[in-house]
């Protein structure tokens, strides 16, 4: 089995879906001749031509709006927004149309644009290139929101997203695009949307995260085991909407403690939703309040201060220790 990084795994998923389904169309800025600024769509235009791998004008709202029209006409458009921090002009199309077309027409047509975008910090980039705004999409009825944490899931979740009949926001953690290599099956496979996964079993505390933070969780869990004998269970949320509360709540019922970690701002972040769900469904199992480790409610800082903003293993370890001693 070939070892792939996330960029290669996503590229392979797109290539295979385009191969097996002629209705799959790629569109976005620099996705064709340039293969995308992160090279995620590398090689696709050579195989499938510029009619199926469309270099669009620089217009995010237009890209998503066109994708909605294509979906209405029966195609499966996969749009790329170059960075999540530039997606805001397209937010109107997502909220006003992609998410509602099915409801508005009572199932007659749908606006199932699949919108991929690199997101999140840790890449020492310019302003607007490090944002983590998954909660603003998860808040929108009618949108599915997916965040892969490794190459295997990236391929399987993207295949699921391309085949899904609903609009999907597919957030790719830029920080781990090339940081993790793992065995990825050559043949296409589906990792179902809406299903979280326990990636490390443990008895003492549940760590809940998604995307690039999974690496931080693993590091924290190892340190906790070594330093304090605390066995942390890690849940990779994978799909923020629809949210798999069952997997999360089952874990918390077992451990009695929960720490939610995300790099997005704290207030109204998705951690607040998870914390509320745990409280509503498992209050009497809790031995300590649900803790949140998050970015601050500030503008994501530029490179020099980025490390102060991003959650890291020491912060998570300390939060778990505080939770254990509550």
């Amino acid at each position: 089995m070939a070892k792939l990084n996330m960029v290669e795994a996503i590229d392979q998923a797109l290539q295979q879906e385009m191969q097996s389904d002629p209705s799959v169309i790629i569109l976005g800025e620099d996705v064709g001749r340039d293969g995308g600024v992160f090279r995620v769509t590398d090689g696709l235009i050579q195989r499938y031509g510029e009619d199926r791998v469309i270099d669009t004008p620089l217009a995010e709202s237009g890209i998503v709006g066109m994708a909605i029209g294509m979906a209405i006409a029966g195609y499966r458009p996969v749009a790329e927004i170059q960075f999540a921090g530039f997606a805001y002009p397209a937010y109107d199309q997502l909220v006003s149309h992609a998410s509602r077309m099915r409801n508005r027409s009572r199932g007659g047509v749908h606006g199932a644009a699949r919108v991929r975008m690199p997101y999140g910090g840790g890449i020492r980039a310019l302003e607007h290139h490090s944002e983590s705004m998954e909660a603003v999409y998860a808040h929108v009825p009618g949108l599915k929101v997916v965040v892969p944490a490794d190459p295997y899931d990236a391929k399987g979740l993207l295949v699921a997203a391309v085949r899904d009949p609903d609009p999907v926001i597919f957030l790719e953690p830029a920080r781990i695009y090339r940081a993790i290599k793992m065995e990825v099956p050559e043949e296409p496979y589906v990792v179902p949307l809406g299903k979280a996964r326990v990636v490390r079993p443990g008895r003492d505390v549940t760590l809940i995260a998604w995307g690039a933070q999974l690496r931080v969780m693993r590091e924290a869990a190892e340190r906790l085991a070594a330093e304090a004998g605390t066995e942390a269970e890690i849940v990779d949320v994978r799909t923020l909407s629809p949210f798999d509360f069952e997997t999360v709540v089952e874990s918390v019922k077992k451990t009695g403690r929960a720490v939610v970690v995300h790099e997005a701002p704290r207030s109204c972040g998705f951690g607040a939703e998870i914390s509320a769900q745990i409280m509503e469904r498992a209050l009497l199992y809790l031995k300590a309040p649900v803790a949140r480790i998050t970015g601050a409610d500030t503008i994501p800082p530029l490179a020099k201060l980025e490390d102060y903003y991003q959650p890291d293993a020491p912060r998570v370890v300390q939060a778990v220790k505080d939770t254990m001693e509550f």
């Binding site: 009619d51 004008p57 217009a59 709006g65 909605i68 029966g74 009572r106 007659g108 606006g111």
Partner: protein, 368 residues
């Protein structure tokens, strides 16, 4: 030093076929059979009658807020009359006559404007998108559909409607630009009714016309008298034919006037004079067509009365059919959020059904 010319020169053609007296410019008159002429007239009268009846029903509290089309029948019906069944229509919200012309049952529109979202289930065979309330954001969908028609080699085009206010929205620019870049078979039809709620056209844009905006996007633009159904039909028919042949998109500005309030919630007396409105009422598109038909021997007093009576009958039947529609079930709101009900939504739906099963009545504090 000689001054530098800072702008390319351009001219906007303004097309008029049928004047206020009902006489036509023979050289520009589109080909229309007597049956088509009669059908056009009957449809405009039907739309007017339907609009009047809906207005009364709104005032009686039987319908919610809606946007009237009175006085704009020439613009949107003239344009939609040029559509073929395989073409697509991407409407905004002031195109009642075009929707009915596509075959949408009147009772379904009544259902929609009454606040029953099942009315949005336009039959798929009509190739007509549901009503788009957010201004100026739907034209880009026409470009996506147009791209798909072109890619699949389908000889069909897309007609999308919007008002002059929508041309100030950013998505208008993105849609026009991408239609030009991809040579999408789209006809952009702007019903310039000169008011975006209260804002007059002169304050909406410094451009003297909407049509000239086509120039910047490398497409054909044309202005037409929107109260002249022959002119609108003719330019739209030609634009759709060009689009179907792969010759690119067109922007049509149908210059008309909104003789009613913006919606039933508006009071236009706050921002414009009675004299202005009355002057435009004298340019009524239906009267103009009737004069032509009378002169051509296709219509007389009895004919006018018969067409009016038939319109009233059809509207009355639609109202009866609308009133017979069973009430919408509360769980309908969960049905089409996603293709399949997700577990979190199923939980919320079940909680609502449990509340209702205990006899709880919703809306204890009724809104207006």
């Amino acid at each position: 030093m000689a001054p530098i010319n800072t702008l390319v020169s351009y001219s906007v053609q303004s097309v008029k076929v049928l004047d206020e007296d009902g006489s036509v410019d023979i050289s520009l008159m589109p080909e229309l059979s007597p049956e088509q002429l009669k059908a056009l007239y009957e449809h405009m009268v039907l739309t007017r009658e339907f609009d009047e009846r809906m207005f009364k029903m709104q005032r009686q509290g039987r319908l919610g807020t809606f946007a009237r089309v009175k006085g704009q029948e020439g613009a949107h019906i003239g344009a939609a009359f040029a559509l073929r069944p395989e073409d697509w229509l991407v409407p905004a919200f002031r195109e009642t006559g075009a929707l009915l012309l596509r075959g949408l049952p009147m009772q379904q529109l009544l259902q929609y404007w009454s606040g029953d979202e099942r009315g949005g289930a336009f039959p798929r065979s009509l190739n007509t998108l549901p009503i788009a309330v957010p201004v100026g954001t739907h034209m880009i969908h026409a470009v996506g559909i147009g791209w798909a028609l072109r890619y699949s080699g389908t000889e069909a085009a897309v007609l999308t409607f919007f008002g002059e206010g929508a041309t100030s929205e950013g998505d208008f620019s993105e849609a026009m630009n991408m239609a030009g870049v991809f040579q999408a078979p789209v006809v952009f039809c702007c019903q310039n009714n000169q008011y975006a709620i209260s804002l007059p056209f002169t304050k909406q844009t410094a451009s003297p016309t909407v049509a000239q905006k086509a120039l910047a996007y490398g497409m054909t633009g044309i202005r037409v008298d929107g109260n002249d159904v022959f002119a609108v039909y003719r330019v739209t028919k030609e634009a759709l034919e060009r689009a179907r042949l792969g010759l690119g998109p067109t922007l049509i500005e149908a210059f008309t006037y909104r003789v009613t309030d913006h919606t039933t919630s508006d009071d236009a007396r706050r921002y414009r004079s009675e004299e202005e409105v009355e002057a435009w009422k004298r340019r009524d598109p239906i009267e103009r067509l009737a004069k032509y038909l009378r002169a051509a021997g296709l219509l007389d007093d009895d004919g006018v009365a018969a067409v009016q009576a038939e319109a009233e009958n059809r509207v009355a039947e639609a109202v009866t059919a609308f009133e017979a529609i069973p009430p919408i079930s509360p769980e309908e709101t969960f049905k089409h959020v996603f293709a399949d009900l997700t577990p979190p939504l199923a939980e919320e739906r079940d909680a609502l059904l449990r509340r209702l099963a205990t006899g709880a009545s919703p809306g204890a504090t009724k809104g207006e």
